[in-house]
């Protein structure tokens, strides 16, 4: 009983990658275990917590709800791809400044979500900042400082 495998070519953080995986293998598992980009975390495996959020062609998606074969030919950005030339992005810096993370497990999903959110809306109001992160769960921070970080990143 050998499982059929498929070639999947994708660009991850600007780098062309190729994996050979079964059809049922999740994008989150390919990123984490096949490509060893473990910054993307898995908190619920059913698309509710948002920890596994990555950018697919720039748009936030739940990598635990996607099969890797379904993103063949696409561009994926993970938390490892947010910094440029070793410099943290405005969103990452704002999280550091505002104490927007505690255990750090949900953080990569917030960072990718907010990165995409601020591209769409550069100057969110406080209500819009809350709305922007309203699909991600955090158990540590009570969200107060994450909202603060969104507004700081938007202002920078």
């Amino acid at each position: 009983m050998t499982e059929a495998v498929h070639d999947v070519r994708l660009r991850v953080n600007g780098v062309p990658r190729e994996v050979n995986v079964p059809a049922r293998r999740l994008l989150s598992d390919v990123l984490r275990h096949d490509l060893q980009l473990t910054g993307t975390h898995v908190g619920c495996e059913h698309g509710v917590c948002g920890a596994c959020t990555v950018l697919l062609d720039g748009a936030p998606v739940r990598s635990c709800l996607l099969f890797a074969v379904a993103v063949d030919g696409h561009e994926v950005t993970t938390v490892e791809g947010l910094a440029e030339d070793g410099e943290m992005s405005a969103v990452q810096r704002a999280f550091e400044n505002c104490h927007g993370l505690q255990c750090g497990f949900c953080t990569p999903g917030f960072l990718t979500t907010i990165t995409a959110g601020l591209r769409e809306n550069r100057n969110p109001t406080r209500a819009e900042a809350r709305e922007m992160i309203a699909g991600n769960l955090c158990r540590c921070t009570g969200y107060q400082n994450i909202v603060k970080a969104v507004l700081e990143a938007a202002g920078s």
Binding site: M1, T2, E3, P22, R24, R25, R32, H33, Q36, L37, T38, G39, T40, H41, V42, G43, C44, E45, H46, V48, C49, A51, T78, V79, E80, L82, A83, M88, Q92, F95, E96, N97, H99, L101, Q102, C103, G104, F105, C106, T107, P108, L111, R126, R130, I133, A134, G135, N136, L137, C138, R139, C140, T141, G142, Y143, Q144, N145, I146, V147
Partner: protein
């Protein structure tokens, strides 16, 4: 002097790594490891008649299947009962793999080891178990009735019964001018960290050594348990806690069945083995807390002074009792809060049910305690028509009465003696912060707009920093960098930052030069763990003492070199100086070189420390009472816990149609003594309050009568998103130091969650005019309460 960093909002040293994807959580490790999948019981109570693994054997990539029959020696015995207590007369723990009977849906029956998790789950799905279902006991009511038993040999489903009393509460209530009775209940919730449990085990046959990485709150505890179960010497077992994605209590339990099987299997298979828990597994096979029913009788005078308080409660501890009676003991003692009832009696039964086991979740019995006590205070105020604050104030322990002996025994077996706190001052701050005295104006204005609002408040005292001890090791390297280790673990509290702040001040070095390692038994072997808001108090104190020891030696060695008196010296910005003599100084790294007499020079710096260059040739290079190197190691072991406290208030609005509850304002006044890092303190409070809001309004473990957990996913278990927590949590602090430790600090981690159910129940009751006796409360619950209240009013009874 180097600027003091204790008390400063220093940015966390952990963050850059975690923000760039460089965190190292359990499942980020061991890409080469085999993976475990677990066959779990679908029945809450059943006999296991047969396990047929035949079909699983055909799965490609399967490596091994283990059932109870494979276990021998200590592995075949029940898991340890970690905290025994004389009152726990019928303690029971599960087996690593079910031994003929399962007592909750989710209990591990077989473990599959395979090339990856997909394959392991394929094989697990092919294992056929023949069950004989037994009657299920679910909930406190069924446990008390005891028509059916969880364990055949535990009569009445009662694991423990414990009474504590001072004075004669029942007699005092009998003769009190006023009396009340209340029934108050809190439902189950759970820690639910974003990262589940996990273990990676590697066996090195050549060195005969087991190395385990675990997402645990106690690496030393797990190490000892693994050594005992696997019959290994302690020196042959290392446990390392990598980054942990939240704990909140649940990860203190050890060893989990999966820890044992991973470690045991990796040794048998000579290959690394990993278990990474999924979300459903976390709901049905980790641990829950909070489920308790309380009956309260109270007698009081015309001012609301409590003359007698008699509390009877029933604690649902689930199927097993690995963590003893910690939760109900905490409820029964911390129920007193900041008050001094003249007479108090508390009795609890700790009951078995066919549900997931119960161990501490942030707050650990205190949210229930605060709910019981604060609802009682509000009921007294309502009965007397007095202000709720005034009733509390007449019952407060006064600052002049500290230390205050409550004449009870706390969860650590030590006397319940409050060491510090100023409750009237805390209340004054809270009243001002929330605008207590102005609220009637707010209410009237809201009414004019057709809106319904209410205000509530709640107080708590929290025993923090329980013993027995923690230790710290401070090592000044020849580079001048300072390496610090402590044995307890970290799950997001920012220990690497706050401990570095402490050491930087104690030693007089820049905070950037201090690197802290926690939870690695290779670096520090003696430790207890991270729970009970104890890390800053325990390890912070131990590390401060260790740094002082290192500093004393640095001054001594430098004084020798500079021919000065150590008492005249200080360390500023990493340099040891003679006070008032500019130029007379020596870098701390050089002092480290000099502290270790060498035979061999390995670099330029070490040349100055070889035996031809230093020391008196007439004396031993290392004096009899000295040791080489610039290090300090010390332990902190307090006589008893230190007690932090706080008070919260909230203003809520209830929707007249949908019965939705919206929190308009949430205010916190907290006293954890001097704050090491106020930014981290506030972050801890924010997180605690959010968990409290979850427990008060959204989260419950929805078991059906057969012990099936119907909402075992984040889809159905309503953990708050940002949309459910208040926009802004207003915080004020009081900093009354404790005399019990060298830094005067008190614990903080759990505080935010403790009074939230009490506070929100009070605010909803105030808004609605309907007694709130049970939490959490959903819009449907409130809607039903309104209907019942209307019906009762229509019938004209009370």
């Amino acid at each position: 002097m180097t600027d003091r960093v204790f008390g400063q909002p220093v940015k966390r040293v952990e963050d850059r790594r975690m923000l760039t994807g460089g965190g190292q959580y359990l499942d980020d490790l061991g890409h080469d490891a085999l993976q475990i999948a677990v066959v779990r019981s679908p029945y809450a109570h059943a006999r296991v008649r047969d396990i047929d693994v035949t079909d699983a054997l055909d799965v490609d990539g399967l490596v091994a299947v283990y059932t109870y029959e494979d276990l021998i020696g200590p592995m075949a015995e029940p898991l340890p009962l970690l905290i025994p207590h004389p009152a726990l007369t019928h303690g029971r723990t599960q087996y690593a793999l079910a031994n003929g009977e399962v007592n909750y849906a989710g209990e591990a029956i077989a473990m599959v080891v395979a090339s990856d998790r997909y394959t392991a789950e394929d094989a697990a799905a092919r294992i056929v178990v023949d069950y004989e279902p037994l009657p299920d006991v679910v909930g406190v009511a069924a446990a008390r009735t005891a028509t059916h038993l969880v364990h055949e040999d535990v009569p009445g489903n009662v694991g423990a019964n414990l009474v504590q009393e001072f004075g004669d509460a029942r007699a005092a209530i009998q003769v009190a001018p006023h009396r009340l009775e209340l029934d108050l209940s809190i439902e189950r919730s759970a820690s639910t960290p974003l990262e589940g449990r996990g273990t990676l085990a590697r066996w090195d046959e050549e060195s005969h050594r087991l190395r385990v990485w675990s997402s645990t709150q106690t690496s030393t505890g797990l190490r000892a348990a693994l050594a005992a179960k696997l019959e290994l010497d302690l020196v042959d077992v290392e446990v390392i806690t990598p980054d942990v994605g939240g704990g909140f209590g649940v990860k203190i339990v050890h060893p989990w069945p999966e820890d044992l099987i991973a470690a045991w299997a990796c040794r048998r298979l000579r290959r690394p083995v990993k278990f990474t828990e999924d979300r459903r597994e976390h709901f049905i096979s980790a641990a829950h807390e909070r489920g308790q029913l309380h009956h309260i009788e109270v007698g009081f005078d015309d001012e609301g002074r409590v003359l007698g308080l008699d509390v009877r409660f029933w604690h649902d501890h689930g199927a097993y009792t690995p963590y003893g009676l910690i939760v109900p003991i905490i409820t029964s003692t911390q129920l007193l809060g900041p008050y001094k009832p003249a007479n108090y009696r508390v009795e609890f039964d700790s009951l078995y049910t066919n549900t997931v086991l119960v161990t501490p979740y942030r707050g650990a019995g205190r949210p229930q305690a605060a709910f019981a006590m604060e609802r009682t205070m509000d009921a007294i105020a309502a009965a007397l028509g007095r202000d709720r604050v005034q009733v509390r104030e007449v019952n407060f322990i006064q600052p002049a009465e500290m230390p205050y002996d409550n004449h009870m025994t706390f969860q650590d077996g030590r006397p319940l003696i409050y060491d510090s706190g100023d409750f009237p001052a805390t209340m004054a701050k809270l009243k001002k912060l929330v605008g207590w005295d102005e609220f009637e104006g707010v209410r009237t204005a809201a009414h004019a707009e057709g809106r319904t609002v209410g205000i509530g408040l709640g107080c708590y005292v929290e025993g923090t920093g329980v013993g027995p001890y923690e230790g710290g090791h401070v090592h000044i390297e020849t580079s001048g960098k300072v390496k610090v280790a402590t044995g307890l673990t970290t799950q997001g509290q920012g220990h690497a930052t706050v401990f570095a702040q402490i050491v930087a001040d104690e030693l007089g070095v820049p905070v950037e030069d201090v690197e802290v390692v926690t939870g690695d038994t290779r670096r520090f072997g003696y430790a207890v763990g991270t729970f009970a808001s104890r890390s800053a108090v325990m390890s912070g104190s131990a590390i401060a003492l260790a740094a002082r020891a290192a500093k004393a030696k640095a001054l001594r060695v430098a004084a020798d070199a500079l021919e000065a008196n150590p008492d005249d010296m200080e360390i500023v910005n990493g340099k040891v100086k003679v006070k008032g003599s500019p130029g007379q100084e020596i870098a701390l790294g050089t002092v480290a070189v000099l502290s270790n007499p060498l035979r061999y020079a390995f670099d330029k710096a070490s040349r100055s420390a070889t035996q031809f260059t230093v020391g008196d040739s007439g004396k031993p290079p290392v004096a009899e009472d000295d040791e080489p190197g610039l290090e300090g190691r010390d332990y902190y072991s307090p006589p008893r816990s230190t007690f932090a406290n706080g008070m919260h208030a909230a203003i809520v609005e209830t929707d007249p149609e949908t019965a939705e509850v919206r929190i308009l304002r949430y205010c916190v006044v907290h006293d954890c003594g001097p704050m090491i890092n106020p930014m981290i303190v506030e972050g801890q409070i924010h997180g605690g309050v959010a968990q409290g809001v979850g427990g008060a309004l959204y989260e419950r473990m929805h078991y059906d009568e057969h012990g099936q957990l119907l909402n075992a996913s984040f889809m159905d278990f309503l953990m708050p998103y940002v949309t459910e927590v208040p926009d802004g949590i207003e915080i004020d602090h009081l900093e009354t130091p404790t005399p019990l430790n060298p830094l005067g600090i008190k614990g903080l981690g759990e505080a935010g969650v403790i009074p939230v159910s009490a506070v929100l129940a009070a605010a909803i009751e105030d808004a609605e005019g309907i007694p709130i006796r049970s939490m959490p409360i959903s819009p449907s619950d409130l809607w039903e309460l309104r209907r019942a209240h209307r019906d009762t009013a229509t019938e004209g009874n009370d």
